[in-house]
């Protein structure tokens, strides 16, 4: 396992041009993610957290500021350092689960036998043993998302970026996937940046939570979560943290609601 690499986001801004004018999505955001840390970006809808993640992943160019991955500035997708998982699993419907997981490796020219080996090694512990030859349409939502995560893990990058990966799943599946992600994280020691709008999810999974303001997105506060894993969300520490986070986020959520109303 590659130990996680640090991420430095330095004064990054992004505006989007719309027919009605220019809209600021992210405004002068600075954030440091330490190696092997799990940081959640928490904020209301439209606060720019997905845009920020896109910039770290090299898919979106910042208008100002720079981003350093493992000490060097990035200028585009860096598949050797950063892997992404989106809310839509984005599995290629014409490829089996196994071939989907091997996609990134295929792009890098890894030979077929090795790809198969790596993919099987990832799918097995995810509870997908026996489903390798299935097509995405034969898999449930939770299974598809696990395959998508396996596909990202296959690149063996030090950094994993996840944009509300469990957002489309029902509550029970979401909770189970969260537990499973904690397990995966424990075993792989990657740096993870996780976008969510769920306080519960952020508290259950992260070492630190970066709370973002409503549009234009800025970092309002960064909260430490010094709780040991596995976390009991009904314990007194967790409950106090939840209240503290909600206090910070509530006014941002209201502003976001009014802004879009």
């Amino acid at each position: 396992m590659t130990p996680g690499a640090p991420i430095v986001v330095d004064g990054v801004s992004k505006r989007y041009e719309t027919p009605t004018g220019s809209v600021p999505a992210v405004d002068a955001v600075s954030l440091t993610v330490r190696p092997r840390e799990f940081v959640s970006l928490l904020g209301p809808s439209g606060c720019g957290k997905s845009t920020l993640l896109g910039m770290i992943g090299g898919l979106v160019r910042p208008d100002a500021g720079r981003i350093l991955i493992d000490g060097s500035p990035i200028s585009g997708p860096t598949p050797t350092k950063v892997a992404l998982v989106f809310q839509d699993p984005g599995l290629f419907p014409w490829r089996t689960a196994l071939d989907n997981v091997g996609f990134g490796l295929e792009l890098l020219g890894v030979p077929a036998a090795r790809r198969r080996e790596i993919a099987l090694g990832l799918l097995g512990p995810m509870g997908l043993k026996g489903f390798e030859a299935r097509y995405p349409r034969e898999l449930s939502g939770g299974m598809r998302q696990r395959v998508a995560i396996a596909r990202a893990l296959a690149l063996n990058t030090p950094i994993l970026l996840m944009d509300e990966p469990f957002g489309a799943l029902d509550e029970q599946t979401r909770l189970l996937m969260g537990e499973w992600l904690v397990e995966v994280r424990r075993r792989t020691e990657r740096t993870i940046v996780f976008v969510t709008h769920s306080l519960h999810e952020a508290i259950a999974l992260s070492d630190r939570i970066a709370v973002m303001t409503a549009r234009p997105g800025r970092i309002k506060d960064v909260v430490e979560v010094p709780l040991p894993y596995p976390r009991a969300l009904d314990g007194p520490d967790a409950v106090a943290l939840h209240a503290k986070l909600w206090a910070k986020i509530r006014e941002e959520s209201l502003r976001a609601m009014e802004g879009t109303a």
């Binding site: 992943g57 090299g58 898919l59 997708p77 860096t78 598949p79 050797t80 892997a83 992404l84 989106f86 839509d88 984005g90 290629f92 419907p93 014409w94 490829r95 996609f103 990134g104 295929e106 792009l107 890098l108 097509y135 995405p136 349409r137 690149l155």
Partner: protein
């Protein structure tokens, strides 16, 4: 109603229709000069069956040449139009307009230039088949899920890799559908050309039999073309299903 009962009902309905038809002709309810009895059609099939084969082959040859041209030109054009939003927006209204014009109108002119024979019929088949191909392939290309492209880009795929490993497989179902639809149109084009300006082939034969009031032979030819057409379409649909197991 399960499949067996369904098929039985369908078969019985068709059989009843054929029997009623036979009876109607026997009892002179309809004039056998215009509407031949099924038995007469069968007789004509047996008698002309041998000659029908080369005629059918002729028509099918024209169809296939026109089809190959329509697909060979239409699919790439559709892919290009579908992947460039600006080109698509500019060109589409013209394509839709051209598609809406009855294509038979230009056939006399094509016949004037290329004469009566293979070229005209094959070109006619192309003209009829190319529009649905372009429209369907362009639509399929536009419908490719953008998330898939984003995923590939995030993994460092270059432009060519994205085209080869994401766009082409994603577009394949639309291309296959277009190819299936194009076949019927190509056959239509070839037959119309044969009827309008031909000297061989099933279309010409049917036209000739109609003008000569030889009803049994005409109906026999019609039956042959129908059966072949249905068989081809069923085969293409079967191919479509087998190649698209993942959908």
């Amino acid at each position: 109603m399960d499949r067996l009962r369904l098929l039985t009902w369908q078969a019985l309905s068709v059989a009843a229709l054929v029997l009623a038809w036979e009876a109607a002709v026997r009892w002179r309810v309809v004039d056998p000069l215009f509407v031949p009895a099924p038995s007469a059609v069968l007789g004509a099939l047996r008698a002309t069956g041998g000659d029908a084969l080369p005629r059918l082959a002729d028509t099918l040859l024209k169809t296939l040449v026109g089809y190959a041209l329509a697909v060979g030109v239409g699919v790439p054009v559709g892919l290009v139009l579908g992947s460039r939003p600006m080109a698509h927006a500019v060109v589409m209204p013209f394509l839709v307009a051209l598609y809406g014009i009855p294509k038979i109108l230009v056939l006399p002119w094509i016949a004037l230039i290329f004469g009566i024979g293979l070229s005209t019929a094959a070109l006619s088949a192309t003209v009829f088949a190319i529009f649905p191909v372009v429209v369907l392939v362009a639509a399929g290309t536009r419908d490719v899920d953008p998330t898939l492209v984003t995923v590939a880009a995030s993994m460092g795929a270059g432009r060519w890799q994205i085209t080869r490993k994401v766009l082409l497989p994603a577009v394949l179902p639309s291309v296959l559908t277009a190819m299936r639809v194009a076949m019927v149109f190509a056959l239509l084009g070839a037959l119309i050309a044969e009827m309008l300006a031909g000297n061989r082939g099933m279309g010409f034969q049917m036209q000739r039999m109609a003008l000569a009031f030889r009803a049994p032979e005409l109906f026999a030819a019609t039956v042959i073309v129908s059966v072949v057409s249905i068989a081809v379409v069923l085969f293409l649909e079967h191919l479509n299903r087998r190649l698209g197991r993942w959908r």
